[in-house]
Symmetry: C2
Subunit: 368 residues, 2 copies
DNA sequence: TTTAGCACTCTCGCATCGAGAGTGCCAACG
DNA sequence: CGTTGGCACTCTCGATGCGAGAGTGCTAAA
């Protein structure tokens, strides 16, 4: 049950199947992870016994720690420091040791209420999602708009503005709206100056709406030849708009809570948070995530070096897709130090993704 | 000529009118500022003479430095360190000592070319502006979309989508497009289920376009009573859309180059860049800037403690408005340490703001 | 199998110290 | 009289050394 909602991004660091721990080892590992996540200080045997009422002596804990270290689940910063979980240790913790801290009902209600206050189609919606994620997990959060993997024609409106410009407003089948201005000179060259008043535009829009519904860029292109001049000209523009929409996988990134990360002691040195800022500003990285998340839904956790990106050795991601299945896909998640409060982050990301799925499908109705 | 394009945000730290420097003092101050901006190391008399061929002995420079310090233009981190410009020193440098480093023609052409590649109405345009600013000045950059201070009705289209939803696509008179979904239940309650097909919507849109052109939210509201049911219902929604547009001063912030700031030695300690991140994420601060920039166009430079915000003692801003005069107003600029390459930043911000003005007015034509 | 004891190791904080950079002042010079 | 060289003085910075403290690993006993 844990494995279906969590997936590793690379097999390299997955847990060896033979890795079975004794009860004591499991208890100690759990305590070490939770203490270290809380305090950011390498944890020693003495303190652990004190704080977690383990009912055994420090010496016993020490030997358990040594075993866990031999298994690669804990590390030693140096001879005489406490233990710190390794990436593999976190992985094991996340997959089978952790007790998830679900959001309580009051939180859920409040979040739901906030979402009901803003328009689904506005960017405010995504900003809100980012703010909720960041606030609830005290990490940096990322949300990208939900987009169809292949843009399809939904509905077009052609608008003649009083200043003479002609506007194409295209509603994609995933509900997104894109617009583009028609070039005056090009327009006049193809159809002559006379035939582009609002009436003529309405006719053309009618033709396009009747013939292009649900078509992707290449299919629209194939129809162009059979259309009357004005409609054909607009259809060419529409092809461009669809192609542009296809070419962008992650068009915009909404982010919040960078300051949360800044406050973590591991990022006190400014240069350490460079990789995080880069992720948040460049969408390349998130784009790599899209296919992974699209394939299997649910929450994905990527811990430290499990990440292919070298710069992100000390960063963990907790991400989930959202959107309408087979229709539109967006990403949301949090990122912070590997020392992340997973028991909080995972349920929060999961809740938000299901909530947004739900809101989308109830608003859009049973959009074919 | 310098004073009309640069304005101080607060009079408190303005240069005393009686402050007249000898030629030597001016040369030394300029050299100190430029050396410190370059190296981030407090500059001593010896090195200054070596690097800037001042033609006098270190002792002479020392006495000039002492005079400048007495005038409040330089400071001493401690007894035995070199001199560092004070905020006032930077101010004087910016206003009368600096030789601006204009962008060369190749740069201008390249920038212009990049802008010609993207749609004016898309966010890509703003992202590009932010990227250019950040790249050219090696600071963090900020760009906000150009918005009318009061939203006015431009043109409306009502769209019946195949899935049954009804969409309001409103083009504001500043060229921005906003959209909202009509609530099905509310809609049926006011006009009955039958009268909302595309034909009926077209009629209503025609009525609205004929009566509401150029109207602001309160004026639209006054007309509602005289409209037929469907048009009246949509008009109410439009009032909401206009009011929402009015209520947001800075709706979105496009930013780039945070990593540039991160690389500056004064921000090596992570916590130092907190104020900068806050500006970039919260729009409150930028909103305060809007009225200042709107009143007098041109490039504004705010240096360190000239800024009312306490957290920004070590940060300088170089900002300019852009947009169509009396129509739409946006902000763009860079921010970095007070030790900023002003001779580069100021011309870049100025060029970009005039370029964007130009592009906007040529695209939008003579939009009354 | 668990526990207590103990020697050992390594970090961290603190104090010390000398080198180096830079200043301010003064007397001499053109 | 402005400029310059000389010189004593101050302060930071990095290296060094040292002791306290925390934590481990091992071993022998319960």
């Amino acid at each position: 049950m844990a494995s279906d909602r969590l997936a590793r991004s690379r097999g390299a660091t997955s847990i060896p199947p033979a890795l079975e721990l004794t009860d004591r080892q499991r208890t100690v590992l759990r305590a070490v992870v939770e203490d270290y996540v809380l305090t950011a200080v390498p944890v020693g045997s003495k303190g652990l016994v004190d704080r977690y009422r383990l009912g055994v002596s420090p010496a016993t804990v020490r030997s358990a720690m040594a075993e866990l270290e031999a298994l690669g689940l804990l590390t030693h910063p140096h001879t005489s420091a406490g233990r710190v979980p390794s990436d593999l240790g976190y992985r094991l913790y996340v997959e089978s040791l952790m007790r998830e801290a679900e959001l309580d009902t009051a939180d859920r209600l409040m979040i739901r209420h906030q979402f009901s206050q803003v328009q689904l189609t506005s960017n405010e919606w995504l900003r809100l999602a980012a703010a909720v994620l960041a606030g609830s997990t005290r990490s940096a959060s990322v949300v990208t708009p939900a987009r169809a993997r292949q843009a399809r024609f939904g509905h077009v409106q052609l608008v003649a503005l009083p200043d003479g410009t002609r506007l194409v407003v295209l509603v994609l089948s995933d509900g997104n709206v894109v617009q583009r201005r028609l070039d005056r000179i090009l327009l006049e060259r193809t159809v002559g100056a006379e035939g582009t008043d609002q009436a003529a535009l309405d006719v053309a829009a009618g033709v396009l709406n009747a013939t292009l519904a649900g078509q992707s860029a290449p299919l629209v292109r194939r129809r162009i030849a059979k259309l009357p001049p004005l409609a054909a000209h607009v259809a060419e523009v529409i092809v461009g708009m669809l192609e542009e929409a296809d070419s962008v996988v992650v068009e915009e990134v909404f982010t919040d809570g960078i300051v949360n990360v800044l406050e973590q002691p591991e990022f006190a040195e400014g240069s350490k948070l460079r990789p995080i800022l880069e992720i948040l500003q460049r969408s390349d990285f998130l784009e790599q995530l899209v296919p992974v998340l699209a394939r299997s839904g649910g929450v994905h956790v990527i811990i430290g070096r499990e990440n292919a990106n070298d710069a992100m050795h000390e960063v963990s991601l907790v991400f989930a897709p959202y959107g309408a299945p087979h229709q539109a896909l967006g990403l949301l998640g949090v990122l912070g130090p590997t020392r992340m409060p997973y028991p909080r982050a995972i349920p929060t990301v999961r809740y938000l993704s299901t909530l947004m799925n739900e809101l989308i499908s109830s608003h859009y109705g049973e959009l074919q």
